[in-house]
C-alpha cells in the first residue's frame, strides 16, 4: 500500500512538470471573425445614453506608478469623448504580457487592443499566426505619417507572412520613444570638476580620471542579463554603419556578426572590466538594484535607456544629466534607440474602428504632453502650445532623441534579430564580461546563432 501511494505521488509530481507546459491543440478550423455591423464610431450625442455599453478591453504594460497614471488619465478622457464606451484596462509587466498575450489574442474574447512587443518572436510570430490587424488603412485615415517617420514605422512593420521584418504592413503604433545613452551624476561631476566628454577618447580618459578619484565610473549590474546588451551595443553603435545595423536587425543582405567592429566593441568591454570601470561585483547585481545605488549617489555614470528618466527624478537628492555616448571624430555616431512597445489591434476584434480611434488617441498630441509631463519621451510631436513643465534631465534626453533623429542615427536593439538572439547574446555577454571567452570567441558564438537563423529562414 505504501509503495502504491508513493508511486502515485511520484507520478503526480512528474505529471505536474508535464502539465505545466501543455497547451490545447490549435482548433482545426481557422478562427473567423463574426460579421460585425459596427455603427459609426462617431461619438453619439452626449444626452442620449446608448442602450448597450461597448467595452474595449486594453492590455498594457505601464505598471510603474507614474506611467499607470498617464494611462488612467488617457483612458478616462477617451471614455469622456465616447459616451457609452468603457475601457477595461488590464495591466501586466512586459514579461507577463509576452507570455500570456499570444494565447489571449487567439481567443474570441481576447483583448481588443494590446501592447505587442516588437521583434520577430513577438510581433513577427503573431503576424504569422494571423492574430494582428494590419493598420495601413487607418494610417492614411488618421494621417499617422505626420506623427512618425518611415524609420519608426518600419520597426512596427512585417510582411503579411510575418517572415520579413521592417517592411510590409504596419501592425502597431508606439506612444513613447527611447534612446540609450549615459546618465551622469551632476552633483558628483560638479564637485570634482568633471565635464561631459565630446569624443570617445575623452570619454575613456574621463573613466580613468573618475576611477583615480576613487569613484565607480560606470554603475552597472549584469545579473538580469538584458542590460548588458545595451552596454556592449552602445559602444558597437559607435563603430558600425547604419546600413549594417539595419541589415543585421531586419535579417537582410546576409551580414555577419563576426566582424572586426563587433570584436573591437567586445574588447572595449573586457578592457573596462580589467580597469575596474564597472561596479565591483557587477555580475551579481540586478538592474533595479544597480539603479537604486546609482540614484543614491554611488557611481558617476550609468549607461541605459531614457526610460529611466522619470525614475532618476524621484526620491533622490542627487541631480542627474544625460548625454549620448560620444563617437570618434569623422565617424557616424549612432545610438541605440527606437520607439517603445506599440499598441496593436486583435485581428478578430468586433470593434476595429473604435480600437483604431483608441490607437490614434494613444499617439495624440495630448498623449505626448502627458508622457512628457512624467519624464517619458513621446514618440510623436507635442502641440506647439503645449504647456509642460519639464525637468532639465528630461530636456537632456529629449535633445538626445531629437539629435539622433535629425542626424538619421537611430540604431536598433540588436536582440530583435532572431527569436533566440536574446538568450544567446545574454549568455555570451556574461561569458565575455566574466572573461571566460575572448572577443573573437564571443562574436563567433553569436554569429553561429545568427547564421542558423538566416539559413533556416
Amino acid at each position: 500500500m505504501k509503495r502504491f501511494s508513493l508511486l502515485l505521488s511520484v507520478i503526480l509530481a512528474a505529471a505536474l512538470l508535464l502539465s505545466a507546459c501543455a497547451k490545447p491543440a490549435p482548433t482545426e478550423a481557422p478562427i473567423v471573425a463574426p460579421p460585425t455591423e459596427e455603427p459609426a464610431t462617431e461619438p453619439p450625442v452626449a444626452s442620449e445614453a446608448p442602450a448597450e455599453a461597448i467595452t474595449l478591453v486594453v492590455w498594457d504594460q505601464y505598471y510603474r506608478d507614474v506611467e499607470s497614471q498617464v494611462m488612467n488619465t488617457l483612458n478616462a478622457e477617451f471614455e469622456a469623448a465616447h459616451p457609452g464606451v468603457k475601457i477595461e484596462r488590464v495591466v501586466k509587466t512586459l514579461d507577463d504580457l509576452k507570455v500570456t498575450l499570444k494565447l489571449a489574442l487567439a481567443e474570441e474574447d481576447g483583448p481588443d487592443v494590446a501592447q505587442v512587443n516588437q521583434g520577430r518572436s513577438d510581433m513577427g510570430a503573431m503576424v504569422e499566426a494571423g492574430l494582428l490587424l494590419p493598420l495601413n488603412d487607418y494610417m492614411s485615415t488618421f494621417n499617422w505619417g505626420e506623427r512618425f517617420s518611415a524609420s519608426v514605422a518600419s520597426r512596427n512593420s512585417f510582411t503579411e507572412d510575418g517572415k520579413t521584418f521592417g517592411s510590409g504592413n504596419l501592425y502597431g503604433v508606439s506612444p513613447t520613444a527611447e534612446v540609450v545613452g549615459v546618465y551622469f551624476n551632476k552633483t558628483l561631476f560638479e564637485a570634482n570638476g568633471w565635464t561631459v566628454p565630446t569624443t570617445f577618447e575623452e570619454f575613456e580618459a574621463l573613466l580613468a580620471t573618475i576611477k583615480a578619484a576613487g569613484v565607480t565610473p560606470i554603475s552597472f549590474g549584469s545579473l538580469d542579463g538584458w542590460n548588458a546588451i545595451h552596454e556592449f551595443s552602445a559602444v558597437q553603435h559607435l563603430l558600425v554603419s547604419l546600413d549594417y545595423i539595419n541589415n543585421f536587425t531586419y535579417g537582410v543582405n546576409n551580414v555577419s556578426f563576426d566582424i572586426p567592429e563587433n570584436q573591437q566593441a567586445a574588447a572595449v568591454m573586457q578592457d573596462w572590466v580589467d580597469m575596474g570601470y564597472f561596479t565591483d561585483g557587477f555580475a551579481g547585481i540586478g538592474y533595479d538594484d544597480s539603479n537604486k545605488t546609482f540614484k543614491a549617489g554611488e557611481g558617476a555614470m550609468t549607461i541605459t535607456g531614457s526610460w529611466m528618466t522619470g525614475e532618476f527624478l524621484t526620491d533622490t537628492d542627487q541631480e542627474f544629466g544625460f548625454f549620448l555616448l560620444p563617437g570618434n571624430p569623422g565617424q557616424t555616431r549612432l545610438a541605440i534607440g527606437g520607439v517603445g512597445v506599440p499598441f496593436s489591434i486583435r485581428k478578430t476584434t468586433a470593434q476595429p474602428d473604435l480600437a483604431a480611434e483608441y490607437l490614434d488617441w494613444m499617439i495624440s498630441p495630448r498623449a505626448a504632453e502627458l508622457w512628457a509631463g512624467v519624464g517619458m519621451l513621446p514618440a510623436m510631436p507635442m502641440a506647439a502650445d503645449a504647456n509642460v513643465e519639464v525637468d532639465p534631465l528630461f530636456t537632456d534626453t529629449m535633445n538626445a532623441w531629437n539629435t539622433i533623429n535629425a542626424e538619421n542615427a537611430v540604431g536598433h536593439y540588436i536582440d530583435w534579430a532572431t527569436p533566440t538572439f536574446y538568450d544567446t547574446i545574454v549568455a555570451e555577454l556574461q561569458k565575455l564580461f566574466g572573461k571566460v571567452t575572448t572577443p573573437a570567441e564571443f562574436t563567433a558564438a553569436v554569429q553561429a546563432d545568427y547564421a542558423a537563423f538566416l539559413s533556416g529562414n
Binding site: 512528474a14 502539465s19 505545466a20 507546459c21 518572436s121 564580461f433
Partner: protein, 297 residues
C-alpha cells in the same frame, strides 16, 4: 472491497463512483495535458498558430545533440546533491539532536527549522538574491564586518559559485522537510530497543547506525524521491535568482522548457524536453522504490 463486506445485490463497481469527482479533475487538469504534451513533442509548433507540422522524432533527435540541454541536464544532477543528499544528511543530524531526548523549546526549534519549507520559492529566491547582492547584501556585508573582505564575491554572477550558491538555497528549503519526516519516523521506534542496546553497551553512534537508521528506511525513501524530483524539476528558484546565468552555468531543464516554449516559440521542442524529463523522473523514482523495498524484505 472485499466480498463479505458487500451488501447482497450491491454492485461491485459502486466504489468507483466515489472516485469519479477526483478522477475527473485528475483527467482534465493532469492526464489529458500530459497526453497533449507528449503529442506536441512530435510536432514543430510555435504554440498558438493554426498550423503545425508533424515531424515524428525530430525534436528528440535534436535534443540529443543540443549542448545546452546536456549542460542543463548535468546541472540538474548537480542540484540533486544540494536538493537531496545534503538536506537528508542535515535532516538526519537535526532529527537525532531533537528527537531522542526532550529538550527545552523543542517546538520552537522544530518550527523555526521547518519554516523555509513552507515559504513560497519566489519569496525565498528574492530574499536570497538580496542576501547575495555583492554591494549591500547581507552575506558580503557580514564578511566585510568581520574583516574577511577577500572572501566577498559576486555570488550569483560568479561562474564557479553561482550553481553552488543557488544550490545552497535549495538545501536551506529542503532540509526542514527531511528533518520533520525523520523526526516522525523516530517517534515510531520503540524506546525499549534503545534501552536494550544501551544495556548491551552500544554507544550513541552504534545505536544510530543499528537502530535509528534501519528503522528510517521508509522515510528515507520518501525523502529521497521527493527531493530528487524537486531537483530535477527545479525552475522557480533559477528563474528568480539567475535566469540560468552567468553564461549557462545555472541553466536547468525546467528553465529551458520555459524559454523554448514561451520566449522562443518552440512549444514542440519544449514538450520534448518535458517528456524526456518526466520519463527520467519516473525511472529514477522507480529505481529508488525498488532499492528501498528490497531492503525491507
Amino acid at each position: 472491497m472485499d466480498h463479505q463486506q458487500r451488501w447482497p445485490g450491491e454492485s461491485r463497481y459502486k466504489g468507483w463512483f466515489y472516485l469519479l469527482p477526483g478522477l475527473l479533475i485528475y483527467l482534465v487538469f493532469i492526464f489529458i495535458p500530459i497526453l497533449e504534451t507528449i503529442r506536441n513533442s512530435f510536432y514543430k509548433w510555435n504554440g498558438f498558430s493554426n498550423t503545425r507540422e508533424f515531424i515524428q522524432l525530430d525534436n528528440y533527435a535534436k535534443l540529443v545533440h543540443d549542448a545546452q540541454f546536456l549542460k542543463a541536464l548535468g546541472n540538474n544532477f548537480i542540484f540533486i546533491i544540494f536538493y537531496s543528499l545534503i538536506p537528508i544528511l542535515i535532516g538526519l543530524f537535526l532529527a537525532t539532536l531533537l528527537g531522542r531526548k526532550p529538550i527545552r523549546g523543542l517546538t520552537f526549534f522544530r518550527t523555526g527549522l521547518f519554516l523555509p519549507q513552507i515559504l513560497s520559492m519566489v519569496v525565498v529566491g528574492v530574499t536570497w538574491r538580496w542576501i547575495f547582492n555583492p554591494t549591500f547584501g547581507l552575506l558580503n556585508t557580514g564578511l566585510r564586518a568581520v574583516g574577511l573582505d577577500n572572501l566577498t564575491r559576486a555570488w550569483l554572477g560568479d561562474f564557479q559559485l553561482a550553481l553552488p550558491s543557488v544550490g545552497m538555497v535549495g538545501t536551506w528549503v529542503m532540509y526542514g522537510f527531511c528533518m520533520v519526516l525523520f523526526l516522525a519516523g523516530m517517534q515510531r521506534i520503540p524506546e525499549d530497543q534503545f534501552e536494550a542496546a544501551e544495556l548491551d553497551g552500544a554507544n550513541g553512534f552504534r545505536q544510530f547506525f543499528h537502530i535509528t537508521l534501519p528503522s528510517l528506511r521508509a522515510e528515507m525513501g520518501v525523502a529521497l524521491i521527493t527531493t530528487v524530483i524537486a531537483a530535477l524539476r527545479v525552475f522557480d528558484l533559477v528563474y528568480v535568482t539567475t535566469r540560468g546565468g552567468p553564461g549557462d552555468s545555472t541553466l536547468v531543464t525546467g528553465f529551458l522548457v520555459y524559454r523554448s516554449a514561451f520566449q522562443q516559440n518552440q512549444l514542440g521542442y519544449a514538450s520534448a524536453i518535458a517528456t524526456i524529463m518526466t520519463v527520467l523522473i519516473l525511472v529514477i523514482s522507480l529505481l529508488i522504490l525498488r532499492f528501498q523495498s528490497r531492503g525491507e524484505e
